[in-house]
């Protein structure tokens, strides 16, 4: 029963973790822009001329278009990758201090602040080469609650960023398109693609779907790895059910001698299996809950999360989906019940006479 619980706990932890990662990602994407337009060049994401914005704005249904400036910066000092972004209108608000108001100021994520040992009013110095460097006064630090979004973020003034990355004039990283009516997004994406064949419009629902797929795939992959242990467990259950102790055999013998039918013994065995299964299932699920939501899934997080120097601290949101429980039930209890049928039957058909004599 201990092993049974552990098996359930392992599988449930995996699903709880993927589910909670998925939920967190989805919560983030709710606030993502409906439509992002990137320019492609040689099959890769390239800078987009700001001039594209005007024509896109003239498409009926588009309420506004803003250019977005951002880029990645590899920091030699700490070995971490930062995301540098120019402040735009709907910037995040979970900040200690303020957001940069002009050139020479920046707001940084908790992770960046920690690895660079920087606090409010300190100076953050970034440099790619002697020509491309910038030193910024830290005027705000994002709070830990928003870590999954802002951990590696450096928000700075647009001009600082353009100069730092030496972006050509009138070029932006991508464009954010706001659409008044959400159901028109696919049509507008299609029109943008028609007008500018070199662009790639990405809708929010596409991102959400991709993530959904990735998480399902990761969860499923991890589950597949556990098919081996699951089989081993079924064999173990079989073996355990076959090797009845002399006491148990005698018990069945006595039951049959006092008038129990084979079907009654089978029923007894079924309920016995159910009792064991449900107890282990419950214990296992509780263990998994504690493991994932109190200890941050310490055992599996590396497999399912990925790897980076500046990784956001991860506190899964407690969230249980009935469907997941049902899936785990199917993967553990049913193989267990199936593997105990034949041993139970063997026990049930034994002659009371032979059992008690032996």
């Amino acid at each position: 029963m201990f092993i049974y619980s552990i098996i359930v706990a392992t599988l449930t932890s995996l699903l709880f973790l993927t589910q909670s990662l998925k939920k967190e990602a989805m919560d983030v994407f709710i606030e993502a822009p409906e439509l992002i337009v990137q320019r492609m060049s040689a099959g890769r994401h390239d800078l987009i001329p700001v001039g594209y914005a005007e024509k896109i704005l003239s498409i009926p249904g588009v309420s506004s278009v803003e250019p977005r400036y951002w880029g990645y910066y590899y920091d030699n000092l700490t070995g971490g990758n930062y995301t540098l972004i120019a402040r735009n209108i709907d910037a995040l608000h979970m900040v200690k201090g303020t957001l940069p108001k002009g050139p020479g100021e920046c707001a940084i994520g908790k992770g960046v602040a920690d690895v660079r040992l920087t606090d409010l009013n300190d100076v953050l110095f970034l440099s790619i080469n002697p020509q491309q460097k910038v030193s910024l006064k830290v005027v705000g630090i994002f709070t830990a609650d928003s870590a999954i979004l802002t951990n590696d973020l450096v928000v700075m003034d647009k001009n600082d960023l353009v100069n730092f990355f030496a972006l050509p004039k009138d070029m932006a990283t991508d464009l954010i398109v706001h659409v008044s009516n959400a159901s028109e997004v696919p049509t507008i994406a299609m029109k943008i693609r028609r007008d500018y064949p070199d662009t790639r419009p990405i809708t929010r629902s596409e991102i959400v779907r991709t993530y959904e797929n990735v998480f399902n795939w990761r969860g499923g992959m991890a589950l597949t790895m556990f098919i081996g242990p699951l089989l081993a467990f079924a064999i173990f259950a079989w073996d355990k059910a076959t090797g009845m102790s002399a006491g148990e055999r005698q018990e069945i013998g006595i039951l049959k001698a006092i008038g129990w039918e084979t079907t009654d013994v089978l029923k007894l065995k079924f309920w016995e299996g159910m009792a064991i299964s449900l107890t282990s299932f419950l214990t296992g699920s509780i263990l998994a809950y504690i493991h994932v939501f109190y200890f941050g899934a310490a055992l599996f997080a590396p497999v399912l999360k990925g790897w980076s120097v500046l990784f956001p601290p991860f506190n899964p949101i407690p969230y249980i989906d009935l469907y997941q429980i049902f899936v785990i039930f199917f993967l553990t209890v049913i193989p267990y019940l199936a593997s105990t049928i034949i041993p139970s039957w063997k026990a049930a058909v034994t002659d009371p006479d032979t059992v008690m004599r032996s």
Partner: protein
């Protein structure tokens, strides 16, 4: 797609059912060939013991199949977000049409294996196992369905491509659709309501009559009524019960009611419908064996119980169907 946790669970279940049924079939063949109740040989004794094993195995398979019918629908419902254009289970099914066949075979398996369990139950009540050969021949008939079902299910999940653009229930179950589903959705509401309530009342009345009257013909008639009632009820769900739940005169999907937005009302609705239309059929099948002397008493007892259960389930089904009609402010006509 096959790596979705739900799909993995379903495939595990299918493989288990597959192997358990295969094992039961091998045992069943032995019994069909060698069974002789009058013999007291060692072989006969061993076979008699084996019957318990087959019954247990098939009871489990049946249980798994019922659970996996629900898990299947639940999974379909939860993977619809992966497909462009899908809004509920219908979209997931349209993404790879084999899914529809899985649903049909699974429903067929539900009724067939429930009938098998009923026969097995009656057989167990009699001292001389009068139905042994018959029930194992019947098992040989069900087994290929279970194999086919497992095969189709694996094929369905393996063939799901997330980039397929599917159609949602709004286009399949719409009045304009040319398919069967569309014509079901287009059924006029008011006449359909009369048909539905008359059918439910007739079935309940016949079930009640069957408990009192000994004549076999009444029981067969009840079974027949129940077989008719099932499609009528499904058509009614598509035609008017669903629109009352959605409070939307154009939305006829029978799968959306399984979603949390509608408090999962689809589950009790369909469980009561499946159960309610199965038991009268089971009683009719039992009536076929009423002439066997050792079965006369068990059959009578079982039938009485089954008719009561059926009436209760049909009442629950009608209750769930009528709830929004009576209590919601939605008036389509």
């Amino acid at each position: 797609m096959i790596l979705h946790p739900g799909a993995l669970a379903l495939i595990t279940g299918a493989v288990l059912c597959f192997s358990m049924t295969a094992y039961a079939v091998v045992l069943a063949l032995k019994i069909i060939w060698h069974w002789d109740i009058s013999s007291s040989s060692e072989l006969q004794l061993a076979l008699e013991r084996r019957t318990y094993l087959i019954s247990t195995v098939m009871n489990y398979v049946m249980g798994f199949e019922i659970l996996s019918l629900f898990l299947y629908v639940y999974t379909l419902d939860s993977i619809h977000v992966l497909f462009v254009g899908a809004m509920c289970a219908t979209g997931s099914l349209n993404a790879n049409p084999i899914g529809w066949y899985v649903l049909y075979t699974r429903i067929a398996i539900f009724f067939l294996s429930a009938t098998w369990i009923a026969i097995n139950y009656l057989d167990g009540q009699a001292e001389d196992y009068p139905l042994v050969k018959l029930k194992y021949k019947f098992l040989l008939f069900i087994a290929p369905m279970i194999f086919l079902d497992g095969y189709l299910e694996i094929k369905y999940f393996a063939g799901l491509k997330p980039d397929v653009i599917t159609s949602c229930c709004g286009s399949l179950f719409s009045d304009e659709s040319k398919k069967v589903a569309g014509s079901l959705a287009g059924l006029p509401i008011k006449p359909m309501m009369y048909v539905f309530y008359c059918a439910a009342a007739t079935l309940a009345a016949l079930s009640a009559l069957s408990m009192k009257v000994k004549a076999s013909i009444v029981k067969y008639l009840t079974s027949f009524a129940s077989i008719l009632f099932f499609p009528i009820a499904i058509a009614s769900t598509i035609s008017f019960i669903s629109i009352y739940y959605y409070e939307l005169p154009t939305h006829h999907c029978p799968f959306d009611i399984l979603q949390g937005t509608y408090n999962y009302v689809g589950y009790p609705l369909f469980v009561s419908l499946f159960g309610g239309s199965f038991f009268p059929v089971a009683s009719g099948v039992a009536e076929l064996f009423g002439s066997v002397p050792s079965l006369r008493e068990p059959v009578g007892k079982a039938q009485k119980r089954w008719y009561v259960v059926s009436i209760i389930l049909i009442a629950i089904f009608v209750g769930f169907s009528s709830w929004p009609i009576v209590f919601s402010g939605f008036t389509p006509f």
